[in-house]
């Protein structure tokens, strides 16, 4: 591989050091062939240190405008207050309106009976999507 020498300092290469736990290397290296070449090109005993273990931690969150249900004030990714109390966590889904505001479907279905408008923007409520 012609680029091996110039790119040894870049992150993926450094992360996929030949000494990275031999059994898990395929799982941790995004570009499988690159590090493999590096292993063959440089004997491991020339390295100053070797990485024995590599733990990856990931975080995620919803990329939506409002992540808390404005009706029951529980996060939309969790079950609503009602479903939590009635032990129906699995059935609790999220509803998005045309206005892009989201609520728990159960919370919103109670509210639209009274007033068919989004409680946040007062637009007429039209369901865009229901799901998790």
């Amino acid at each position: 591989m012609s680029t091996t020498k110039t790119s040894t300092m870049s992150m993926p290469q450094a992360a996929a050091n030949p000494e990275v736990g031999s059994g898990t290397s395929t799982g941790t290296s995004p570009a499988g062939s690159g590090p493999g070449t590096a292993t063959n090109a440089k004997p491991s005993d020339q390295r100053l240190f070797s990485l024995k273990k590599w733990n990856i931690v990931a975080m995620w969150s919803w990329d939506v405008e409002c992540d808390t249900c404005a009706i029951c004030r529980v996060q939309v990714m969790d079950a609503c207050l009602r479903c939590q109390t009635e032990n129906k966590q699995e059935e609790c889904v999220v509803v998005w309106g045309d206005c892009n505001h989201s609520f728990h479907n159960c919370c919103m279905s109670l509210w639209v009976k009274q007033n068919n408008r989004c409680p946040l923007c007062q637009q007429e409520w039209m369901v865009q999507r229901i799901g998790k």
């Binding site: 029951c72 009274q114 007062q122």
Partner: protein, 188 residues
């Protein structure tokens, strides 16, 4: 909060000791109530910690957060020096349904009837514009709204007590005299 933990303990005790035949209904009713109560666990401390300085809140029964008495003592304006007591009752349908509020103190006011009915847009259950009740509103909004009936939201143009509004438009001085007489007689 203390009141909730006590309530939960009581419920648990009732469940374990209570007669088995009755327990399913009992559970259902306590569960339905608890939606409102669970909202209030958050809303009540928020409300009491951000009260206007003219307001005081009292809970006649600390186990019933859905029933409170709000005392408003306006520092300025026509109703200055009066103490007006409002009774707030939150039904089990809260926060889909707005709180029910009555003024317990007889008052001469364009937006409050002598019987205690209140005309405040955010307490309106079915409102087609954006000013009515919405579940996004909280007790804090209600308290500030009621307090504003003595200041910003005082409205002579869309009155509930038409006689009082006409009185003001006819003779402001005499309106003020009557307001103060009501304050002396009923709101001290």
């Amino acid at each position: 909060m203390i009141t909730l933990s006590k309530k939960l303990k009581e419920d648990a005790a009732r469940k374990s000791s209570g007669s088995n035949s009755k327990s399913p209904d009992l559970n259902n009713s306590t569960k339905r109530v608890s939606i409102r109560d669970r909202l209030l666990i958050k809303e009540v401390p928020e409300m009491t910690s951000s009260l206007p300085k003219t307001c005081k809140v009292h809970f006649p029964d600390v186990h019933k957060l859905h029933h409170s008495l709000l005392t408003i003592s306006p520092e300025e304006g026509y109703w200055k020096d009066g103490k007006f007591i409002f009774e707030l009752t939150l039904t089990e349908e809260y926060n889909i349904a707005p709180p029910k509020v009555r003024c317990k103190t007889k008052i001469w006011h364009p937006n409050i009837s002598e019987e205690g009915q209140i005309c405040l847009s955010l307490l309106r259950e079915h409102s087609m514009d954006g000013t009515g009740w919405a579940p996004t509103r909280t007790l804090t909004d209600v308290v500030w709204g009621l307090n504003a009936l003595f200041t910003d939201l005082l409205n002579f143009d869309d009155p509930l007590n038409i006689e009082a509004a006409d009185h003001y438009l006819r003779d402001k001085r005499d309106f003020e005299v009557k307001v103060q007489r009501y304050v002396r007689n009923y709101a001290r």
